[in-house]
Amino acid sequence: MHPHRRKRLFNIILVLLFSTSGIGLILYSLNTNLDYFFTPTELTNINIPEDKRIKIGGMVLENSVVREQSKVIFTVTDYKNYIEVVYEGIVPDLFKEGSGVVALGFMQNETFYAQEVLAKHDENYMPPNLSINNDN
């Protein structure tokens, strides 16, 4: 390789190195701030003021969904810690027990009052008859 070409290659590697380490440092310092939601376990470890709007995410605990008129009460869990969620409104079609959920709202006295509930689905896709076989 020509010396001046080698120099340009070296420059490119240098630029790549600097930009990656720069962005890398930013992402590293932001760390969990880039998380979309708190898991129930994370919530028990940190103190969040009652007037701060947050998102929590996890699985809807099996047999925890109770419907009272327009209210939906359910438990969000990461199977280590549990948070009771109260929500008034319509939940998405994919909302069901044992599947993922993200709720936006306020934490007050160990209960989470949600303003918005979103369903989170995972990366598994399969036909319905196969999933029944897998469950058995």
């Binding site: 962005i23 990366e123 896709y125 036909p127 196969l130």
Partner: protein, 243 residues
């Protein structure tokens, strides 16, 4: 010999005549593969056990997202080629690819939004995957407008190449965003290391769609690169003869 071959192919004229010969085959083969896989995916695959029929937009969303990132990677490679060897054709490719990259990213964002409404219950959320893809879209637009703002093409090419290389950092971030942070977006179903978490009956048409879409987009890149060659070399005698 290889050196001479590369040298020849790197001339816009040889490239143009070579690519003219194979363009038609790439186009028809990709079109057949894509239409076949799309019909298969939309009409002849089973419903998903959770999402029902709404998962079928995957046959557009995944190919478009895959292409939006691949095109950026191709752009980064041509940028490096241009900066080191000063191959003109490589410079034409960077600006030829940018608008098509913006288009595929736009399709990925829109199809993702449409998919989000029936499944997540929202069309937009600022999670790491969606935000980093939006950044990719804005980056493509930035590259196009930067190139347009220069009257000196050579300066524009150089600056553009450097910017493409700096912006490449975003590609691994998009790819790994669903693993590094908690996101609303699900993790990847197809990975190089693990068994796909998508049933074979849905996986095969999806792979067909990705391959077919890839070919069709490459055809667009070829057309776009031809346009760049005519635009930039319009004063050359062979272009005048050809047109």
């Amino acid at each position: 010999m290889i050196k001479r071959f590369i040298h020849q192919f790197a001339s816009p004229k040889t490239y143009l005549f070579q690519v003219n010969k194979i363009y038609r085959y790439i186009f028809y083969i990709s079109l057949i593969i894509y239409l076949f896989s799309l019909t298969w995916g939309l009409l002849f695959t089973p419903e998903d056990f959770v999402q029902g029929n709404s998962y079928r937009i995957i046959y557009l969303h995944v190919p478009a997202s895959f292409m939006s990132q691949s095109l950026y990677a191709i752009m980064a490679i041509t940028s490096i080629t241009y900066l080191i060897w000063r191959v003109k054709l490589a410079a034409y490719f960077i600006i030829a690819i940018a608008p098509i990259g913006a288009m595929t990213t736009f399709i990925a964002l829109i199809s993702g939004s449409i998919w989000g409404i029936p499944t997540w219950g929202t069309w937009w959320q600022w999670d790491a995957r969606i935000t980093s893809t939006l950044i990719l879209f804005i980056m493509y637009l930035g590259l196009i407008s930067l190139h347009n703002s220069f009257s000196n093409h050579e300066k524009a090419d150089k600056l553009l190449s450097w910017l493409v290389i700096v912006g490449f950092v975003n590609i691994p971030i998009i790819k790994k965003s669903v693993d590094w942070w908690s996101t609303l977006h699900q993790s990847a179903s197809i990975t190089l290391t693990d068994k796909p978490s998508i049933d074979p009956s849905m996986l095969y048409p999806l792979i067909g769609c990705i391959i077919g879409f890839f070919g069709l987009i490459i055809c667009l890149v070829i057309l776009s690169s031809k346009y760049q060659i005519f635009k930039r070399e319009r004063k050359k005698s062979w272009v005048k003869e050809y047109v």
